[in-house]
Amino acid sequence: MKKLMEMNHVKKSFDGNEVLKDISLSVEEGEVVSIIGPSGSGKSTLLRCATLLETMDAGDLIYLGEKAAKDENGKTVYVKNNELKRIQQQFGLVFQNFNLFPHYSVLKNITDAPIHVQKREKEEVLFEAKTLIEKMGLSDRADYYPCQLSGGQQQRVSIARALAMKPKILFFDEPTSALDPELTGEILKVIKELAREKMTMVIVTHEMNFAKDVSNRMIFMDQGVIVEETTPEQMFQSENQRTREFLGQYHNLG
């Protein structure tokens, strides 16, 4: 199995408050990894460090064997900007609040970056975008603007936007937290479909049943450390006091 992403001994503090305390994590091709944990456990910060939205204080960040950031004497040093830009193309991120571009139509949201950032052939990008839109069940919505769509539809557009860049690995930052309960199902269905297609994904989520269903590996984080990292089956039969406490808050674990 090919290692797509690797983080070693990552540390991050905000104003002296240590949010990530020596976190190491790696993701292999085709894997689906869920990260769970209470609010403030550092799971979103970890994801933001992995996607270069936040800088790490210490530790390495490696994509496909290529170092984006390297620890030098306990301090993270990032590679040059143009190299980061290239490495950035390896991953995609789906936000909790979608962050679609409101002035662009669904189609343009999906096609603009492949055309103007990746400089790919317009025809080809449009063709692929249509396939993606169809796959997301939005065929009749290609010319709509984000404000004309439901939350679930917007999130599906943002997943399509991320996929259009052909990332090797896709991160999800609580993709259903901003949605009404009846809309979360449609997003979870899309992610499950991607898992079936062997898309490599790292998902920060509060949907325990879903995490159990979809992932090969689950990571439980608390207070900036990885408490437990194991298969979903074992996670839900954990002997660890803290894990049991946390999972116990979620009823109907199925």
């Binding site: 996607t51 270069l52 939205l53 830009k85 950035q88 193309q89 991953f91 995609g92 991120l93 936000f95 609040n97 962050n99 679609l100 571009f101 409101p102 002035h103 603009d112 970056a113 103007h116 950032v117 990746q118 603007y145 984000p146 404000c147 936007r161 991320a162 860049m165």
Partner: protein, 216 residues
């Protein structure tokens, strides 16, 4: 003086007024954007220079600034001023004054943009320039349009301040005809002109706002 002569003299002034208006916008809108970047700069010196500039431009009368720009070269540097400098002085004074107001409007608009837009653009690999011109600026324009409309309407009326250096725009001419002919008609004509001009400006901006209302 017949009404016809009066109106033809006034209409020459109207063309000048419209020219001041157009040129001021042409220079102050981009200049304002540059100043707003300075105002938001992380560099202490640049940020504070922009701040002081805006503070002075907004804190002193436009008429006074116009007089300083017009007479300054002579009083301060002893450079004799030609009569053709009058037109330049008007455009310079109006542009640097309005740029300060536009800078603050831009800043308000830019700072109101949610971080998520920058983050989404970054993850998708857009360069800083692409992010600003493709993603941020179009949305900022929509947000600031009502405030810009206010300033533009004020500018139409402020062009009349050019009379203070006797620049022959519409109001200056109206005032001199009124004095020589002992007539109110030039003032009435001037009022109608400003009103119609602004009605036109307001309609145009409203049309633009409507055109941009396809998204929220």
């Amino acid at each position: 003086m017949s009404l016809q002569v009066m109106l033809s003299q006034l209409s020459a002034g109207m063309v000048t007024t419209i020219l001041i208006f157009v040129l001021t916008l042409l220079f102050s809108l981009p200049l304002g954007l540059i100043i707003s970047f300075g105002r938001m700069s992380e560099n202490f010196l640049i940020r504070n220079i922009a701040k002081i500039y805006i503070s002075i431009m907004r804190g002193t009368p436009l008429m006074l600034q116009l007089l300083v720009v017009y007479f300054g070269p002579y009083y301060i540097f002893g450079i004799s001023i030609s009569s053709s400098y009058r037109a330049y002085a008007v455009i310079i004074a109006f542009s640097i004054n309005y740029a300060a107001y536009f800078a603050e409007i831009y800043r308000g608009g830019i700072e109101s943009m949610p971080d998520g837009q920058y983050e989404a653009a970054k993850v998708l690999g857009y360069t800083k320039n692409q992010t600003f011109f493709k993603i941020i600026l179009p949305q900022v324009v929509k947000r600031i349009l009502p405030s810009v409309t206010n300033e533009v309407i004020t500018l139409v009326k402020d062009t009349s301040l050019a009379f203070s250096i006797a620049y022959a725009e519409m109001f200056t001419i109206a005032k001199s005809i009124a004095a020589s002919q002992k007539s109110m008609i030039p003032f009435v004509a001037a009022a109608i002109f400003y009103y119609v001009f602004n009605f036109f400006v307001a309609s145009l901006m409203e049309f633009w706002e409507k055109k941009m209302s396809y998204y929220r």
